[in-house]
Every structure is written in structure tokens, then in C-alpha cells.
């Protein structure tokens, strides 16, 4: 910043600007409104600024249409204006002081402020690309899809599509991998959001690098078994699992680098934690964290800061788990290899065309005899999606559903169960039999019959279905 620019500070010293009136996602506009409210700016000055922004927009429309059109659609205009305001906000926000930002808005023309904002965005873009390159070299070698796709697909797409001039505010990327500390501040959009996200992603990965990658994969796998889901396609944060288990390891006499928690360690932790009040839990986690940081010899200040913030979230989760006696959902324990990886008995079947399917539904609807209906289904329906469509096609009634379910094997019933009880299987720890028996009525007719069917099924078949839960992923089966 030049000397001249530095001198503008201090003119607005004792203004009554209220920070609570400033919207982070419309920083400059809300700042101008606030300045008008307290009388730091008058209406004429606001109008002048408005006109200058309008001129910027006029120029940008001409750049956007390459000088070929003076008018654009409202959608395009709003997009271009948001891009301009994003750049202006980038500059005014960089002062962190409302008064200083306002001084610059009073002293400089908007074109200059806009150009400085563009410079800041360009710098952030370059910095973010460098950060991304570093991350993609050092990322963890795990089978978690969201983690891998965010780095290999979502980020390159963002860098390719990002337009500093015409769409600086856009964050066009499907970033699925959840961070332990979410970047949810609304002011972060565009490249500033990606920058913040990748910085946190990097810190989490750097922390995880203190641990053996095989152990991390194993912990993820155990988590999948614990939640009866295929961990590879779930939205799991690796840092959380690793940090939590490392603390639990330390607190149960294990080594800091060992994140595999045995059943005995779990029993010990459960007994120990269940007796503690919230203050004692906080102290214990603080102590565990100190031991962990010492043992791993973590000296990076950013990682230490990140741990400090995450620890608060972690302590709350431990307190909740103790209160609800659900530590078994927080501590990921070692599980035996019960089944082979991913058994799929479903064969890839061709889904029927719409016209063929409609024909079958018509045929079934015309049947007066249930046996004929079942016979048509048996010989024509071979894909799960067709079966689900059929259930919803209002051509089966009452007991006919039971006869169709009778056609299905345990694998098929497992998949239907995962569809019907998705939330329950994911979120609670009850046995499947209990889930079925406690189940409230569904809105879908076929689901009502399906639940009823399961409630009357032999116990050993229910157990068999339950065993398949962690092995079958209907999301991965090709239905077409």
C-alpha cells in the first residue's frame, strides 16, 4: 500500500458504524448503507458510487459480449454485477476495519477499487493453484471416494471453469468431502472459499500423515462396519476419525500413533468416561491432546491451531456420547474380517425400455388372477429398478406384495431393506430385528407391505439379511 493511501486513515475515527449491520456476503453494499445511516456518507455520495458501479457494469457487459451487444439477459447482468461486487468486496474486506474500508470508498473511484479487488482475486487464485498442486502430491492414499474425487475431479474442474472477471463469485465445483471444521461462513464464495477449503484440507491431511496409511484405511473400514455402510462411498471426514481414535488410544494406554482401538480398550474407556462429569471430560481430553501432540512432536502452528478448534467440537461429542451412553458410536473399534469384500449376487440386468415396462404394467393390471401376475413378474422383471418402479405402479394389491417378496432372495431383501430403512441403519445402533419391529408405518404402500413382510420373516433370515448390510451397496449396482 502506498504512503498516499496510508494517509487516508484516521479521517473517519469516531463514526458510529455498527459491525452487526454489516453483511459479510454483501460487505460493501451493507457498509455503504450503514455509512448512510450514521451520516458518514450522504445520499449524493451514495448515488455517485452507484453510478460508478453502473459504469463498471456497462463496461463489463461490453467485454462479456466482446463489444457486439449492448444488452444482455437479466440473469447475465446479475451474474456480472455479482462478480464486480465480489471484487470490490475483496478489496474493502481486506482492510478488516470498517472505517478504513469506508475511507477508501470515499477517496478512490470505484474503478480503482474494482481493479485492486481483481488483483487480490488473481493472487488468491495463483496461491490456491499452488496449494492444490502441493495437496495433490501429498494426499492420503485411501479408498474414500469423496476424498479422492474432490481432489482429482472437483478441484481441477473449478480451476478450469473459474472466471476471475465474469464470474469471480462462483464456486462451481461439487466438493463432497466434508471437513472437520466446515467452511460455512457465507462470505466465502468463489476462489476465497476454495482457498479456505484447501487450506483446511491440507492441515487435516498433514495431521493424518503422522499415522500409518494402512491403519487409516483399516479405521475407515471398521467405521463402515460399525455403521453398516460401505465406507468407500460415505461422506466421512478422515481427520475426525483419526484424531478421535488417537486420543482414545492415548487415554486407554495405547500409543499415540496407534489408532486401532481394541474391544478391551473400548471397555476400559467406556467404564472410565461414563463416570466423569463434563469438566472432568474436558480436562481428560485436554490431557490426551497434550500427550498426543507431544508424542507426535507436532510443531506446525497452523495444525496446532486447527486441533485447538476441533478439540472443542470433539469434547462436546464425547460429552454427548457419555450422556446418551453411545460411546460405541464415537469410538471406532477393531472388527473381525467377517465377510469377503463386496459380494454382489445381483447380475447386471438390462432395464426395460419405458414402452416395454408400460406394456408389462398394463398386462399385470389386466390380470384377474394373482398367480398370473406373479408369473408375468417372474419372467419379465429382472432389474431392481424395474422392480421398484413396479411397486410404485399401482398394479399390485394387498397380499400380492407378499407373493412378490417371496420371489426374492436374501440379497434382494437386503437391498430393499437398505432402501426402506436407510436412515435407521445409518443413524442408530439397534439390531435390525428391533428396527423392523419398532418401525412406524411408511407412506409408500409397497414399503408398508415390505415392513409387514419382514416382521413375519423367520429370525434366521433376518440375521442373514443383517449380515449382508456391510457387504451390499445398491448404489454401486448397475441397474441398467
Amino acid at each position: 500500500m502506498s504512503q498516499e493511501e496510508g494517509n487516508v486513515y484516521g479521517i473517519i475515527k469516531n463514526s458510529k458504524l455498527k459491525r452487526s449491520n454489516i453483511k459479510k456476503n454483501q460487505y460493501t453494499i451493507s457498509l455503504l448503507n450503514e455509512a448512510l445511516r450514521v451520516g458518514v456518507l450522504n445520499m449524493q455520495e451514495i448515488c455517485n458510487i452507484q453510478s460508478e458501479i453502473k459504469l463498471l457494469l456497462k463496461d463489463l457487459i461490453m467485454r462479456y459480449t466482446k463489444g457486439e451487444s449492448t444488452s444482455v439477459t437479466i440473469e447475465t447482468t446479475e451474474n456480472l454485477l455479482s462478480s464486480i461486487m465480489y471484487a470490490i468486496d475483496a478489496y474493502t474486506y481486506s482492510f478488516h476495519s470498517l472505517n478504513k474500508a469506508l475511507e477508501h470508498l470515499k477517496k478512490n473511484d470505484m474503478k480503482k477499487i474494482y481493479e485492486k479487488g481483481i488483483e487480490l482475486i488473481s493472487l488468491c487464485y495463483e496461491e490456491t493453484i499452488e496449494l492444490y498442486k502441493k495437496i495433490s502430491k501429498n494426499k492420503l492414499n485411501v479408498k474414500l471416494e469423496a476424498y479422492n474425487l474432490t481432489i482429482w475431479e472437483a478441484m481441477p474442474l473449478f480451476f478450469k471453469k473459474y472466471e476471475i472477471i465474469f464470474g469471480a463469485h462462483n464456486t462451481m465445483a461439487s466438493i463432497d468431502y466434508p471437513l472437520a471444521l466446515v467452511v460455512d461462513d457465507i462470505k466465502f464464495r468463489g476462489v476465497f472459499y476454495i482457498n479456505k477449503y484447501l487450506k483446511r484440507f491440507n492441515l487435516e491431511t498433514m495431521f493424518c500423515k503422522y499415522f500409518d496409511e494402512e491403519d487409516i484405511e483399516k479405521t475407515l473400514k471398521n467405521f463402515g462396519k460399525m455403521t453398516k455402510m460401505d465406507y468407500k462411498i460415505e461422506l466421512i471426514n478422515i481427520f475426525e476419525l483419526v484424531f478421535n481414535n488417537a486420543i482414545f488410544s492415548v487415554l486407554s494406554g495405547g500409543k499415540a500413533r496407534n489408532i486401532n482401538i481394541s474391544k478391551y480398550q473400548y471397555e476400559y474407556l467406556n467404564e472410565r468416561l461414563i463416570r466423569l462429569n463434563t469438566n472432568e471430560i474436558t480436562l481428560l481430553v485436554e490431557r490426551g491432546s497434550e500427550i498426543l501432540i507431544d508424542a507426535l512432536n507436532i510443531s506446525d502452528l497452523d495444525i496446532l491451531e486447527y486441533i485447538k478448534y476441533y478439540k472443542k467440537k470433539f469434547i462436546l461429542r464425547v460429552e454427548n456420547a457419555v450422556e446418551n451412553k453411545s460411546l460405541n458410536n464415537l469410538i471406532v473399534t477393531e472388527r473381525e474380517e467377517e465377510f469377503k469384500d463386496n459380494i454382489f449376487l445381483f447380475k447386471e440386468n438390462k432395464r426395460m425400455s419405458n414402452s416395454d415396462f408400460n406394456l408389462i404394467v398394463k398386462k399385470i393390471s389386466r390380470c384377474r388372477n394373482t398367480i398370473d401376475k406373479i408369473s408375468i413378474i417372474k419372467s419379465n422383471i429382472s432389474s431392481l429398478n424395474d422392480m421398484l418402479d413396479l411397486f410404485n405402479a399401482h398394479c399390485l394389491y394387498g397380499k400380492e406384495f407378499k407373493l412378490v417378496f417371496d420371489l426374492l432372495g436374501d440379497m434382494e431383501l437386503t437391498i430393499l431393506s437398505k432402501i426402506v430403512f436407510y436412515e435407521e441403519l445409518r443413524d442408530d445402533n439397534r439390531k435390525f430385528l428391533k428396527i423392523i419391529l419398532d418401525s412406524k408405518k411408511s407412506n409408500d404402500e409397497w414399503q408398508i407391505h415390505f415392513i409387514e413382510y419382514l416382521q413375519n420373516l423367520e429370525k434366521n433370515r433376518i440375521n442373514s439379511i443383517e449380515r449382508y448390510f456391510s457387504e451390499i451397496n445398491y448404489e454401486e449396482i448397475s441397474f441398467y
Binding site: I29, C47, S51, E68, T70, S71, T73, I74, L81
Partner: protein
């Protein structure tokens, strides 16, 4: 002050009217003259057209170009000038949308003039229907071009 009302502000309106009036210099040789009242009407029609076709324009270049381009038409005189201009403005913004913003302002005005003067013989109704056909064919050609550009088979 919000982003929306920033676009709706009327600060520049007066200067835009003055800008349009300057066109009188160029059209007077064809016996045409626009009064302030005429320009107000033209501006109102323009704004209505922009609004109904969901477009924003922060300058008045197109209106001026149309005034000047059509002033030498053999189908236009001082009596029908404002009426025809208003119709042409509506047609212009409608076809900006219909041709998906892929034709430049100058080119579209050229096409309008060419049709108006020749095959439509000054008929606005005929111009509208001819341009509908033109826009359809234009979109079709573009679709084929986009498909080929993306390596697909049309």
C-alpha cells in the same frame, strides 16, 4: 442500496434522452425530426420491451443505431417514424432472445433493415413472421454447429 435497485436507478435516464435527441442531426436530411415527447415515447417502449424480454441495457446505442439506420427507408416518414421505431425496438429485443444472443446488435439491425426494405416492403407484421422463420433456422444451424463442435453426430 441493493444490487437490484442499483440497476433500476434513474440517474442516467436524462442523459440518455439527450443522447437520442442528438440523432436529429443525422436524420433531418430525410425530413425526419424527433421531439422530446417522441423520444420519451421511444424510451418508454424500449424499457417495456427490455423488461418483458428479461433484458438489461445500460446504454442507448441500439436505439440510436435503429433511428439512424431506418431514417432513409422509403417506407418511413415523419408520421409513422415513432410508431415503426417502437415496433422495431420490440422486434429487436425479442429476436435477441430468440437468436440466443448469438447475433451482434449491428448484424441484427442489418437483418431487420434488409427484410423490412425488401421482402417485407415496410410491413411490420410480415417482418415479424419472416424473422420467426429466420430465428428457427438460425437456431437449427447453431444446434448442428454445437453438436459438431462437441464431436457428436447430429
Amino acid at each position: 442500496m441493493t444490487i437490484r435497485n442499483m440497476l433500476n436507478s434513474k440517474v442516467l435516464r436524462k442523459s440518455l434522452i439527450e443522447e437520442v435527441l442528438k440523432s436529429n442531426e443525422k436524420i433531418k436530411k430525410y425530413g425526419l425530426l424527433l421531439t422530446v415527447e417522441d423520444v420519451n415515447k421511444i424510451m418508454e417502449t424500449r424499457n417495456r420491451a427490455l423488461q418483458s424480454y428479461g433484458r438489461i441495457e445500460l446504454e442507448i446505442k441500439v436505439t440510436k443505431m435503429m433511428i439512424e439506420e431506418f431514417s432513409d427507408s422509403c417506407y418511413i416518414d415523419n408520421e409513422n417514424f415513432v410508431f415503426i421505431l417502437n415496433e422495431l425496438q420490440d422486434i429487436f429485443y425479442y429476436f435477441k432472445n430468440e437468436t440466443e444472443d448469438k447475433i451482434s446488435d449491428i448484424k441484427l439491425i442489418d437483418i431487420l433493415k434488409e427484410y423490412f426494405e425488401n421482402s417485407c416492403e415496410g410491413s411490420i407484421e410480415l417482418l415479424k413472421s419472416r424473422l420467426e422463420v429466420f430465428a428457427q433456422e438460425f437456431r437449427k444451424k447453431n444446434q448442428i454447429k454445437d453438436s459438431l463442435d462437441n464431436g457428436g453426430v447430429y
